[in-house]
């Protein structure tokens, strides 16, 4: 029964993806700025005639609905067209850059969960202790400092001063890593290349911490406030009366129920992890999809923007779907919505 509902939601993403694609299609074309003109750049002289035949080539002169028809017809066959600027098929470009963004997002999510859960639980159990105050103030630091500021400070401290961690990029030179999936950590494990594994993990640390800090802060605070609720509930008293050890009461009984509101918030944060990492990718020179999309937007590289936006939409909606499924799994009272 529940499997069907999940399938329903998976199929439900298709209209959303195309919905987003169509909205973006019109939105970027109506926004002022002409891709061909930008591509020509400034230097040298260029006759307007050449601009004209470039526009011709990209079908830019046809009315919008015709252009939309071209786009939908090609997209249906899986051909998302070519990037105006990079002159490579959009699917290839995204296919190569998406794993970097997802690897960073996963790294940040893992970091934030590893940090947020202990802090959230401990500061609830030890409410108003100095530990609670300390963890909450570091949480504020995570929330209030912009990503790039935190990133630059971390680089200056851990890479330039202490030389513990690398400054930028996904992996150091000369590790001879064969890429199969595009996920460096996964690839290095698959190919058993320990040096590449070490280097890719080291390169993942600072960007994940920077991207994960605000997310950890939010999750920690929400978890803390819901833990305070569940620790006061009757079923916790029942568990204690059954002779359950205190820490097991906190972890199994209280935390399990406190997860329910927290999961929704984690779901929202995943959106930030995926969508918000363009700044982090810029600061750490991380060759992810986020940075490419930013450049594509400024270049008005329509096919690339559309392709990337559809993939982003797909990943967003998938992440939310996973959260909803986890939500029903955690909270038996709510059937899959």
């Amino acid at each position: 029964m529940r499997g069907i509902k999940i399938l329903e939601r998976v199929l439900g993403t298709i209209p959303i993806m195309f919905g987003v694609a169509i909205i973006v299609f019109f939105f970027i074309r109506l926004t002022p700025g002409d891709p061909v003109d930008i591509m020509m750049g400034q230097g040298g002289s260029i006759s307007a005639g050449e601009l004209e035949n470039l526009r011709e080539e990209f079908h830019l002169n046809e009315p919008l609905h015709i252009q939309l028809w071209y786009f939908l017809r090609d997209a249906a066959q899986g051909d998302l067209g070519y990037s105006y600027v990079l002159k490579q098929p959009v699917t290839a470009l995204i296919g190569e850059r998406l794993p970097a963004t997802i690897e960073l997002a996963l790294g940040a999510l893992i970091f934030s969960l590893l940090v947020a859960f202990p802090i959230g639980v401990i500061s609830a159990v030890r409410q108003n202790s100095w530990l609670d105050r300390l963890s909450m103030s570091t949480a504020f630091l995570g929330i209030s400092m912009p990503g790039f500021w935190l990133g630059i400070i971390l680089i200056l401290l851990f890479s330039v001063q202490l030389h513990w961690l690398p400054v930028q990029g996904r992996i150091k030179l000369g590790t001879g890593l064969e890429q199969h999936t595009g996920y460096f950590v996964l690839d290095s494990i698959l190919t058993g290349n320990m040096e590449a594994l070490k280097s890719s993990l080291l390169h993942l640390v600072l960007p994940s911490v920077t991207l994960g800090a605000p997310v950890a802060a939010v999750i920690a605070r929400v978890l803390r406030s819901s833990m305070l609720e569940t620790l006061r509930s009757d079923y916790v008293t029942l568990a204690r009366s059954k002779g359950v050890a205190e820490w097991w009461v906190v972890i199994k009984h209280a935390l399990r129920n406190a997860m329910i509101p927290t999961v929704t918030v984690v779901g929202l944060q995943v959106g930030i992890l995926l969508g918000g990492n363009m700044v982090i990718e810029t600061v750490f020179g991380w060759p992810g999809l986020g940075r490419m999309v930013v450049k594509a937007i400024f270049d008005r590289d329509f096919p690339l923007i559309q392709g990337a936006v559809m993939i982003y939409a797909f990943t967003f909606v998938m992440a939310n779907l996973i959260v909803d499924v986890m939500y029903t799994y955690l909270n038996p009272r709510i059937r899959l919505g």
């Binding site: 103030s137 209030s144 400092m145 790039f148 929400v222 329910i260 509101p261 918000g276 937007i297 982003y312």
Partner: protein, 312 residues
């Protein structure tokens, strides 16, 4: 004397009622302050928030220098407590030689209103749609949820650039760009909580006593949900202010004659090695504001939340 007491004109009745209301309100306020004083952190938070508000309102009285006029000769002057700094520019100067303290004080005007307005609008829209969707469910719920999914999936940056491109960089466009997706989070949170609360007994009890749906939503369920909305709201306040920094990092910030903390942090990032204060101090201003709001919120929650009171 007995006779005319109950022969009161309607006006006097109104006055009488209002006097009673005032008294009750004053009574609540007094023991609210008494309760607040017991909770040190909340007090600190409250005072800090008030300080920020005062600095926003009386910015020109507090500061000496002009926040916009720069003077290249005193560029990158360190804060007073470092060597080379002077008390005339307590927090030093930025890369254009403008007094940092003045700009931060004026910046509170913009950043506070960016934070309050964008979170405020997002919360209102989020609660409105979230309550209706969560409570009634059905087609409205799936429609709005799918719309939320759509917006959540719609990259924020494209919309921000679109808005900036169409309407030009400016304050109101920034608020528009921030709230465009801001409400989705509150919508999903409120909807999630509403789904959970809806199954609870006290809602059925309220329905049994004949309360209308609206009354149930407003009086019964919302007070319980307002808690997490409050927590998320205070967190999002900081996030909104910082997003302005990320936008100016990408070149879409507010024009410099509108001093805002976000653009200051972004503009100062290149000289972090040379002049750490240009970028860090506005960042700390954001930090303390967010911390103040959250601490004050925390204290408020403990005071107002009935369940947290001990019996007796």
């Amino acid at each position: 004397m007995e006779a005319n007491q109950n022969v009161r004109s309607p006006l006097e009745d109104q006055l009488y009622i209002w006097r009673i209301r005032l008294e009750i309100w004053w009574q609540n306020f007094r023991n609210f302050v008494k309760a607040l004083s017991v909770h040190p952190l909340a007090l600190a938070g409250g005072i800090l928030v008030i300080l920020y508000l005062l600095s926003a309102v009386f910015a020109d009285q507090i500061t000496v220098h002009n926040p916009i006029q720069g003077n290249l000769r005193i560029r990158h002057m360190p804060p007073a407590w470092e060597d080379g700094g002077s008390w005339e520019y307590p927090l030093g100067t930025d890369s254009q030689g403008r007094d940092l303290f003045t700009r931060i004080v004026y910046g509170s005007r913009i950043s506070l209103s960016v934070g309050i307005l964008s979170v405020g609008i997002s919360v209102i829209v989020g609660i409105l749609l979230g309550t209706l969707a969560g409570y009634f469910g059905g087609r409205f719920d799936s429609f709005v949820s799918r719309l939320a999914d759509l917006l959540l999936a719609f990259p924020f940056l494209i919309f921000a650039i679109g808005v900036m491109a169409f309407l030009g960089p400016g304050f109101t466009n920034l608020i528009l760009a921030l709230t465009f997706k801001g409400w989705v989070e509150f919508f999903r949170l409120v909807r999630g909580e509403m789904l959970a609360e809806k199954t609870k007994e006290y809602v059925e009890a309220a329905r049994v006593t004949g309360q209308g749906h609206v009354a149930i939503m407003l009086k019964e369920i919302l007070p319980n949900i307002i808690q997490s909305v409050f927590v998320l709201g205070t967190l999002r306040m900081g996030y909104m202010i910082i997003t302005e920094a990320s936008l100016s990092f990408l070149g879409l910030g507010l024009p410099p004659n509108i001093p805002a903390w976000g653009s200051m942090v972004a503009a100062g990032r290149d000289s972090l090695l040379v002049a750490w204060w240009v970028s860090t101090l506005p960042g700390l201003a954001i930090l303390f504001l967010v911390m103040a709001i959250n601490l004050f919120g925390e204290g408020l929650r403990d005071i107002l939340d009935p369940r947290l009171k001990l019996e007796g």
